[in-house]
Symmetry: C2
Subunit: 396 residues, 2 copies
DNA sequence: AGAGTTAGTAAATAGTATTAACTAATGGCG
DNA sequence: CGCCATTAGTTAATACTATTTACTAACTCT
């Protein structure tokens, strides 16, 4: 079933070709420096197939050949790498506290970026401002001359799985917005792939996509900012984000942790966000609405009240991490989002709680690794760019 | 990445053939009575391809041709159906309270079944007893002459995603059991596909696989018995069960609903199973360990204490259902497991709680349908058989 | 320098779905 | 009744895929 996330539904020889091309490209992404022969061994394709596909990908600027490397006797193989000098992908994030735009090469390296720390207003105005940022980025001499694979946009709310439309962004007050259409109206642009996704999903995708070597079975990116979201990704060569019926997979901020607990802005009571989230800390600690939360709180870390509040929130975060393991069961957990800037006072209690409450099932196996991303300013935007690359690799 | 759930990893022409054959088979399963031309239209394959594949499937006993049906002018098409008269699949369930074995035809109809209501003891003894049941079933004249596609076994605990091995069945006291190997030792059998899976996953798969017409995007089967488990399935033609790193996707019985709550047998505190589960009701209401829980309680429904306990458990179940929607977000929810026999005193509070606590995001869209399976005696076994069929359809 | 080994390419081959042309079967209409 | 238009299904030719096989290229070791 083709939709805007998974373009085609199999069947003909084109599909097979595309599948193999994409597999080969992905093998080089995961294992840079492999030779044609190595790729053939790894993918199960024959030398001949790999050779012809690799040569075509070299010609079109996706791969470049590197140095020779001999292994034992015999003719040395020629190392292959993703070509970081040709194509670029653009990624953008509309966050509660500002706009971010990045340009990446095929290796996931940031070539240029733009940011604007004003809170977005209406969808249309935001699209106009974002379009100017994107144009500024495209004007950058480092990327102006390069062919662009497309643009991915990350938004702070669930996106409909059937159409690229934002359903609801509670922290922006947006409902059912066709943001790509608004952007298209502002950007007169030939362009290839246009994608829209949830911020946590995009971030998760990017973190997973550019992992070198054999990736974990799956990762969950827990995004703690104004709200709490979570994106899951799995699939070595073709990373997939489970989305569910309404795109709510990973909306763990609104799982209920306290039956009949404090009222949440979602209309329910006792949600995780009432225990840990930017807006909850803002309300309970009395930070002015337009001030940067993390900056304000970082300045007040010597107040016992603040430290206690962060520790409480941290323990709730640890509990969320535990529940995540029994429902989505990722093999790696990444903590990101603006709250991570608060550092140890929030993170240490979370990790401690997580460690202390492993049950027998989890204790039986190796502890799931947790990675903390302190500065996730461009993580979601870069992830959106990664999604563009993944799509383009299939369609090319 | 091939593993014991997803056999092959794409690449060659065989794969393409297998993919299309399986797609066509699945189209007939979802939409019985279509003609070759209808299938071509639906799948995007050409008439020629569909024709040759359908004829091959007819020859091998997977499809049968039915009546002609004219639509407007022109030559009438010949209806196609899965052939219920040839192949059979076997499915088995090892439950806390007994063994179940079924034989199904390709349409998911139960041709024969066997049950034994003794609690299993050791893995080896259980395998021996189960083997006798299976042999008895194979001896049944209704199925003895038919070709058998294989055997699927459902167990009450998580199964390792990389190998068909049971990790842990707390309610049986089993750890790291290679149950298929034990069975193979008891059953001298040529046989095709052998599969092992978690009980909730198997049940979910079966419920989803045999849905006629366009299926929901995904379903979650919430299995409430001695413990609480949940299986998720999605994918119209190729249903997939997300499993996660350790096969714990859907282990929602051990999500924590009460921080620092009552001690759970998993080693943690405040798990969902401490609020709703067979073993918790058994303990709190003082039912003897070897008596049938539902029977004992059904006889005591006039006691206010029992009704109150069931209502409390029901509300916890409703809360679990809500949290499920914000993490796995299925488009349909099926309630099954032995506790469902308790009926309205448990189910009504659950549904009421679920209805009353929908948040804005869920309220925005159509209410997710909930289906209650009162008698799920053979649901998991039949689901295991369905998994055999799905696998065989790819491999044939 | 030559044998042995591995990398990569080229031409021939087998297998896939598609295309285009055909036959088959029905309803509608004169 | 007979003809035509229409749709279903089959067949043979075609285009494209990956594989097989045979080859050339390039290096190490002796």
């Amino acid at each position: 079933m083709p939709n805007h996330f998974t373009p085609h539904a199999a069947g003909d020889l084109n599909y097979l070709k595309s599948l193999n091309r994409s597999t080969i490209l992905s093998t080089v992404r995961r294992y840079p420096g492999l030779s044609r022969a190595d790729i053939a061994l790894r993918t199960g394709l024959t030398k001949a197939t790999v050779g012809s596909v690799v040569n075509a990908l070299s010609d079109s600027g996706w791969l470049r050949e590197g140095e020779l490397h001999a292994r034992g006797g015999g003719r040395p193989g020629r190392s292959l790498y993703l070509d970081g000098e040709h194509h670029v992908m653009l990624g953008a994030e509309v966050g509660v506290k500002g706009l971010r735009v990045v340009a990446c090469n095929l290796q996931g390296e940031l070539l240029a970026s733009q940011r604007l720390d004003d809170s977005p207003t209406t969808p249309a105005q935001t699209a106009a401002v974002l379009a100017r940022l994107i144009e500024a980025l495209r004007g950058d001499p480092a990327i102006a001359t390069r062919p662009c694979l497309g643009l991915g946009v990350a938004l702070p709310g669930p996106v409909a799985p059937q159409a690229p439309i934002l359903r609801l962004a509670p922290n922006l007050g947006w409902v059912d917005v066709d943001f790509l259409a608004l952007l298209r109206a502002e950007l007169d642009w030939p362009a290839g792939v246009w994608l829209l996704d949830n911020e946590a999903n995009a971030a998760a995708f990017g973190e997973f996509y550019f992992i070198e070597g054999a990736p974990p079975e799956s990762i969950a990116y827990l995004s703690a900012g104004s709200g709490i979201g979570c994106g899951v990704v799995s699939g070595e060569h073709f990373p997939v984000i489970p989305r569910g019926h309404q795109g709510l997979v990973g909306e763990i901020g609104h799982t209920v942790l306290v039956a009949e607990g404090a009222r949440c802005h979602c209309g329910n009571h006792g949600c995780a966000e009432t225990l840990v989230s930017g807006w909850m800390l803002r309300e309970s600690l009395g930070v002015e609405a337009d001030a940067s939360l993390s900056a304000s709180l970082l300045a007040r870390l010597d107040e016992p009240e603040v430290r206690a509040a962060l520790a409480r929130a941290g323990r709730a975060l640890g509990l969320l991490m535990l529940n995540l393991h029994h429902t989505l069961n990722p093999s790696m957990l990444i903590l990101g989002g603006s709250l991570m800037r608060l550092g140890e006072p929030l993170v240490a209690p979370a990790l401690a709680y997580f460690d202390a409450h492993q049950n027998d099932l989890l204790r039986q196996t190796q502890r799931v690794p947790v990675k903390v991303v302190e500065d996730s300013t461009f993580t979601a935007a870069r992830g959106a760019a990664a999604q563009v690359m993944a799509r383009a690799a299939i369609e090319v």
